[in-house]
């Protein structure tokens, strides 16, 4: 009965989404505040219904109710509870339900948010979000129903792909989805603005916290996915330019551009048309990513639903929303009043450069991802576009952008003083250059790109904090006064500083991978091998072990540094009997920000054991940097200006610490 109630809740949510779509839209057209006010409660109700449905499915997984086809196909009674729960979204139907849950969540949050969104904009936004929800609910119910029943119910399920049985999976897709789907709300805002024909600074401020929220989660989601691939797939790589990874990177790049262009729009009422287009394209790329992954056009680990019918349905949704929104854009955009042309050397000029580079970089990644598909469709030739292509196109576009980042932070609006800015950044640039030369000297003969990359990262971090220093301290000011001033800087300034410093950390981490070492060795018990980075590993034992639903052979190694024992790592070859599937579990030991990474291979003909040993210096900075970026976005979201206009104004800004946004 519970299960059927969960199923019915989805059908009910579909009916109610129709109300969420039609009534507020009508209210906005007729300027009727009562009809517009329907959007709030209905969007909350839709969210509650979908949440109930999701809860019911999760419960069915927890109690192993194999009368639900989806549970039967993707679970097993012997699985640990945590993987029963994560299994809910470890398959196509469940993950689409999660997708809709997040869609409804964002709709409901706009419905209840108490900030300065004008009522018409809010009503239209909720209506557009309702339309997206309708499309995906139809898709779910008609082609991928998670509540399909199975009679008679089997007594055992069919387990879950063991590669997906990992804690990384528990966190990575939901985060990624919140990011992906979060951009649906910026899309809805853009469509609402086009429907109403009113696009101004108020719009930019209303949409900004949502863009930041979506970007924050997408950043964490991509980062988690990368770390998951790093330790689970056992190759020691952290980014493969896999088409599925690119599908999540593309909306991230455009989302980053969107964050920066909304600042210009909010402060200067410029870049309106471009910002709306960005909002549409960002979500379009999210939809395209879903289509590519779900349709099986790109076959990979993520394509757990290789089903052309579903692909076709998503393609229809894709064409409808992307085509429809671009058509509306083409119709309405010429009516918008254009902002003025502004000086190239100015804060807005720097932000335009940011958008230019990011959009171009996004286009190159898109070309690299789609070109093989297009070529095969046209000529039949099969090619692979791999990391070398992206390294040769994406990275050269990123470097000038990163060099410009601190300039954008310091330049003034309208007309900037380039010489003055260069002077302010001179210290950061000099220190970074010094660090580069120093490291180059120490690692003479090693890769040249690495010290340069580290220098760039140092420059980014110093440049980011340069803003804090120059805004709060000048010669003669005491440190305590400066500290108080720094604390008083607006949250959005601190958010920018953190996010840009995070980019710097990630750049250092990526640059340092050039120093990582890989050793492929054959070892017998008691053998000692050089790992690199001053570490050595001794193979102590290879022993079988039985896990909850797998058996494994565990190789245990003791690590030495300078002859001293510093710890151990275990890497295992696992075998999951139910799926008859072997996996390799890498062993990772962290030393500071660096890691020793061990992966066990096959037994060799002479009885020794194949081993891959890696030393990965500063590798953790890659992910640490992304976390710092996300923290920056979070700080920025709490800026006081996003609370302005809420019905009750909590407090006035303190007069001494003059908060002001700056991106």
């Amino acid at each position: 009965m519970l299960i059927e109630a969960g199923h019915f809740a989805l059908a009910l949510a579909l009916g109610l989404s129709l109300v969420q779509f039609a009534v507020p839209l009508w209210g906005a057209r007729t300027n009727d505040p009562v009809l517009m006010s329907v959007g709030g409660p209905v969007s909350v109700a839709v969210f509650l219904l979908v949440a109930f449905s999701f809860g019911v499915l999760t419960h069915a997984y927890m109690v192993s109710d194999f009368s639900v086809l989806n549970v039967y196909a993707n679970s097993h009674s012997a699985k640990p509870m945590i993987y029963k729960i994560t299994g809910v979204w470890g398959n196509h139907e469940g993950s689409m339900l999660l997708w809709i849950l997040i869609l409804a969540l964002f709709g409901a949050m706009v419905g209840v948010a108490r900030n300065s969104v004008p009522p018409k904009l809010r009503a239209n936004t909720i209506a557009v979000q309702g339309a997206v929800t309708i499309a995906f609910l139809l898709f779910l119910l008609m082609t991928s129903n998670p509540f399909e029943r199975l009679t008679p119910a089997p007594f055992e399920g069919q387990d879950l792909n063991p590669v997906l049985q990992d804690l990384g999976l528990a966190i990575h897709p939901p985060l990624l989805y919140i990011g992906y789907v979060g951009f649906s709300i910026t899309f809805a805002f853009a469509m609402a603005a086009l429907i109403e024909g009113k696009i101004d600074a108020v719009w930019a401020r209303a949409v900004r916290p949502w863009t930041l929220a979506a970007w924050l989660f997408l950043t964490l989601g991509i980062s988690m996915g990368s770390y998951w691939a790093y330790y689970e797939l056992g190759w020691g790589g952290w980014w493969f330019w896999d088409p599925v990874e690119n599908a999540s990177l593309l909306p991230w790049i455009l989302g980053t551009a969107l964050i920066h262009s909304t600042v210009v729009m909010e402060k200067r009422e410029a870049l309106k048309v471009w910002t709306i287009l960005l909002a549409i394209l960002t979500f379009s790329l999210s939809l395209m990513g879903t289509f590519l992954v779900r349709s099986g056009v790109l076959t990979s680990v993520h394509a757990f639903a290789v089903d052309p019918d579903r692909g076709l349905f998503i393609l229809v949704i894709l064409v409808f929303f992307i085509g429809g929104s671009l058509a509306l854009f083409a119709w309405r955009a010429p009516l918008l009043r254009q902002g003025g042309v502004f000086a190239p050397v100015s804060r807005e000029g720097a932000l335009v450069m940011n958008n230019l580079f990011l959009a171009t970089a996004c286009a190159t990644v898109l070309i690299g991802t789609l070109y093989p598909l297009a070529l095969e469709a046209v000529t039949g030739a099969k090619i692979s576009v791999g990391a070398p292509f992206f390294n040769a196109t994406f990275i050269p576009l990123m470097i000038p952008l990163l060099i410009l980042v601190p300039f954008g932070q310091v330049l003034a609006w309208k007309r900037g003083d380039l010489a003055g800015v260069a002077q302010r950044l001179a210290a950061a640039a000099l220190i970074a250059a010094f660090v580069t030369v120093l490291i180059y000297g120490f690692t003479y003969g090693g890769p040249v790109a690495a010290p340069l990359g580290v220098g760039l990262g140092v420059y980014l971090i110093l440049g980011a904090f340069n803003e804090v220093v120059t805004r709060s301290w000048s010669p003669g000011v005491s440190l305590s006064v400066a500290a108080r001033k720094a604390r008083g800087l607006p949250r959005s300034t601190w958010g920018t500083v953190m996010a840009h410093a995070g980019v710097g950390l990630t750049v250092i981490g990526i640059a340092a991978t050039a120093w990582s070492t890989e050793r492929i060795v054959s070892m017998r018990l008691g053998d000692v091998a050089d790992v690199g980075g001053g570490y050595e590993a001794r193979l102590d034992s290879v022993a079988p072990r039985t896990g909850p639903n797998y058996i494994e052979d565990v190789a245990r190694m003791t690590l030495f540094s300078g002859g001293r024992e510093v710890g151990f790592v275990e890497s295992a070859k696992r075998f999951y009997p139910v799926r008859a599937m072997p996996t390799t579990e890498a062993g990772i030991r962290t030393f500071g920000l660096s890691q020793v990474y061990v992966s066990v291979g096959e037994e060799q003909p002479d009885g020794s054991l194949g081993m891959r040993l890696y030393y990965k210096p500063l590798i953790l900075l890659i992910w640490l940097g992304t976390v710092v970026m996300a923290i920056g976005a979070g700080i920025s979201m709490t800026d006081r200006r996003f609370r302005v206009g809420a019905p009750v104004r909590s407090r006035n800004a303190p007069p001494t610490a003059a908060p002001a946004p700056a991106e």
Partner: protein, 151 residues
């Protein structure tokens, strides 16, 4: 600066960045893209030694030999022809005889394919799309996604 000059500077800057990006893409397209080939295509058309490409097909039954020092020799077949492959390093977990595989590398002078990458599959039922197509062309692909019977 006049309004017109400003506009020109902005458009010129954008054009320059786009031109650079286009140039990078074109150069990268020429240098970094590798083609996918099946063994029978290599037999029919021939590939110059040293040209990187991806070789896909099935690992021929009984062809895997471990030569020590982590070197593995095996043959890749698509039913029409076979290619000898040499690879040093760890094999993916699901590398098995009779299963689909994609390797990347180049032929040496003697017709041996020296691979530096053997692509992993993550799922028992996953067959690299290119391999599936190649096998279909050779009539080896059975309905249902299973590897062809080889005994």
């Amino acid at each position: 600066m006049t309004r017109k000059q400003r506009r020109l500077v902005m458009i010129g800057g954008a054009g320059a960045v786009l031109a650079v990006a286009l140039g990078l893409v074109l150069v990268a397209m020429r240098d970094t893209i590798v083609f996918f080939r099946a063994p029978s295509e290599i037999a029919a058309q021939g590939v110059d030694p040293g040209v990187r490409f991806r070789l896909g097909g099935l690992v021929e039954d009984g062809s895997i030999r471990h030569a020590g020092d982590q070197v593995v020799l095996f043959r890749v077949t698509d039913g029409g022809a076979t290619v000898d492959v040499r690879y040093r390093g760890h094999l993916p977990d699901l590398f098995r005889e009779g299963q689909g595989v994609v390797t990347e590398g180049a032929l040496d002078g003697a017709g041996l394919f020296v691979a530096d990458t053997v692509l992993a599959r993550h799922d028992e039922n996953y067959m690299p799309r290119e391999v599936a197509d190649a096998l279909k062309q050779q009539g080896l692909w059975q309905h249902g996604g299973d590897a062809p019977p080889t005994q």
